[in-house]
């Protein structure tokens, strides 16, 4: 019985488009849009970059050539502050360049552009969500006596994660002074995690490729850089500027130069790692889904079977992305903790 169901399920998508082709009037929007794409041909470049790039409006979907878009305010500082939506950009003397950025229509120069873009709105929504979740959790601990009650609800959900990150990652990596840094590292972890997860979620509040944007990961790496270098102790600076190596390596400052480069490469690697992983995940998922539309021209049987494969592979990739979302947040937090810990490590000969 089970096997029969499985076979039927596998055959269903193969048969469905064939039926859809027979009676086009009765089909849903999904198939209609497939048909449209087929007619226009899929612009792969626009499809991919439209999904992973930042934008001045939040395009949700297109139904019957009617675009469902959330307009977002463009804020431009050039001889005063100009606020408008993309729709009215031309009236304000701005246009989009080949990279899809606002430029002055006359001079073609980039103004100071602090528009609330898709990623900014996504960041705001995710941040509000995160703050609400964590503050609700904190409120539970404020209202209840932890010595008498076990956590319930949100606190029960978040506590194991917080404890795991703090005790297993932060405490081990940073060392005895971990209490000073755990709020930052926990914030970084949950911030990355929620943005990663919301990035996987395909419709409106999610779906923005936030942690796959280099500006976002760059700022996160910058915060880690500041945390490492502002609170580094004198051993840390001595190891960078005057390390325990033979004098000829210091007289011509080979080692100090390498160490100072190391100061920057560590957060740089954090930035690239998170950015590349999340971007690659989004691109993989989008490519697999694109297979459905690309194969539409190849006829119903091939399209149907490829749809099955793409859907199954999409499910697999989605699960993988869930893991990656957690893993990348974990790795970022752990490496930040390790870097902070290295800036607080006593030299080996002093501890022994």
């Amino acid at each position: 019985m089970r096997k029969l169901m499985l076979i039927w399920l596998l055959l269903l998508p193969v048969l469905l488009p064939a039926r859809a082709a027979e009676v086009p009037g009765e089909t849903g929007d999904e198939v209609q849009s497939v048909a449209e794409e087929e007619a226009q041909g899929l612009d792969m470049n626009e499809y991919l970059f439209g999904h992973i790039s930042d934008a001045y409006e939040w395009h949700i979907t297109t139904i019957n050539e009617h675009e469902i878009v959330i307009p977002l305010p463009c804020i431009v500082i050039e001889n005063g502050v100009h606020v408008f939506t993309l729709h009215h950009a031309a009236e304000n003397g701005y246009t989009l360049n080949e990279n899809g950025k606002l430029v002055n229509a006359q001079t073609g120069k980039r103004p100071i552009d602090i528009s609330i873009t898709k990623n900014v709105l996504g960041l705001m929504i995710d941040s509000i969500l995160l703050v609400v979740l964590i503050l609700l959790c904190a409120r539970w601990y404020r209202k209840h006596d932890v010595l008498k009650e076990k956590p319930t609800g949100l606190a029960a959900l978040l506590e194991p994660v917080i404890v795991m990150i703090e005790q297993d990652v932060i405490k081990d990596a940073v060392g005895p002074e971990y209490k000073r840094f755990s709020p930052y590292l926990l914030t970084a972890f949950f911030f990355i995690l929620i943005n990663n997860l919301m990035g996987i979620f395909p419709v409106f509040p999610g779906g923005a490729n936030i942690t796959g944007n280099i500006a976002v990961t760059g700022v996160l790496a910058l915060f880690t850089f500041l945390m490492v270098n502002l609170f580094g102790d004198k051993h840390y600076w001595k190891d960078i500027l005057w390390p325990d190596v033979p004098i000829f390596l210091k007289a011509i400052p080979i080692m100090p130069v390498i160490e100072i480069m190391g100061m920057f490469t560590k957060p740089f690697s954090l930035m690239i790692r998170l950015f590349a992983n999340m971007l690659a995940g989004h691109i993989m998922l989008l490519s697999v889904i694109a297979l459905i539309f690309l194969s539409a021209a190849l006829g119903p049987v091939l399209n149907g079977s490829l749809t099955v494969i793409a859907a199954l592979f999409g499910i697999f990739l989605d699960c993988l992305e869930l893991l990656v979302a957690f893993l990348q947040a974990y790795v970022f937090t752990m490496l930040s903790a390790v870097f902070i810990g290295l800036a607080h490590q006593k030299p080996a000969h002093e501890t022994n």
Binding site: I52, S53, D54, I75, N99, G100, K101, I112, D113, I114, S115, I116, T117, N119, V120, L123, M124, S127, L130, V131, I134, L135, C137, A138, Y141, R142, V146, L147, A155, L158, E159, I162, V163, E166, K179, S182, P183, Y184, L186, T187, F190, F191, N213, I214, A215, V216, G218, V219, L220, L222, F223, L279
Partner: protein, 168 residues
């Protein structure tokens, strides 16, 4: 490529948003949670230690109890032994005292009996003497009436008297 050139607007908003999130969570969020969890784990550790100590103390107390029971038993047997000794002593003493008392009483009784007998003998003797005198009087009064009789009586009396004086 626009993908790897960070956009200024997004950088600006990211700094603002992340800074704000960091500030709020670091001030009102995570420290409260982590401190509460820390408090609880400290409490659990303390409780476990206290439980261990209590158990150790309990084991010590059981030992102490066994020792005390043993001591008590020894004390008990000692007291019992002492008591039986005391009892034996008291009985022996009482017996001795009773014997002494009995002997004293016996002695006393003997003396008294002797004294009684003495006085009784004396009494009897006095009465006998009085009765004798009375008898003698009566006899004398009767016999003095006859002639020959008077002399005979005197003789006999003298005899008797002399005879009676010998045993005394």
């Amino acid at each position: 490529m626009s993908l790897i050139t960070p956009d200024f607007g997004l950088l600006f908003w990211m700094v603002v948003i992340f800074g704000l999130v960091f500030f709020i969570l670091a001030k009102f969020g995570f420290p409260i949670i982590t401190n509460a969890v820390q408090k609880r784990s400290d409490h659990i550790a303390d409780s476990l230690k206290a439980a261990d100590e209590a158990q150790a103390r309990l084991a010590g107390m059981a030992e102490e109890q066994a020792r005390m029971i043993e001591e008590t038993r020894l004390e008990q047997s000692r007291i019992l032994k002492e008591a039986s000794e005391v009892r034996a002593g008291i009985i022996a003493q009482a017996r001795e005292e009773a014997q002494q008392e009995a002997a004293k009483l016996l002695e006393h009784a003997k003396v008294e009996i002797a004294a009684e007998r003495e006085s009784a003998i004396r009494d009897i003797r006095r009465q006998v003497a009085m009765i004798s005198v009375e008898v003698a009087e009566k006899i004398v009064r009767k016999d003095l009436g006859e002639d020959g009789g008077q002399l005979a009586l005197i003789d006999r009396l003298v005899d008797e008297a002399s005879q009676a004086q010998i045993p005394n």
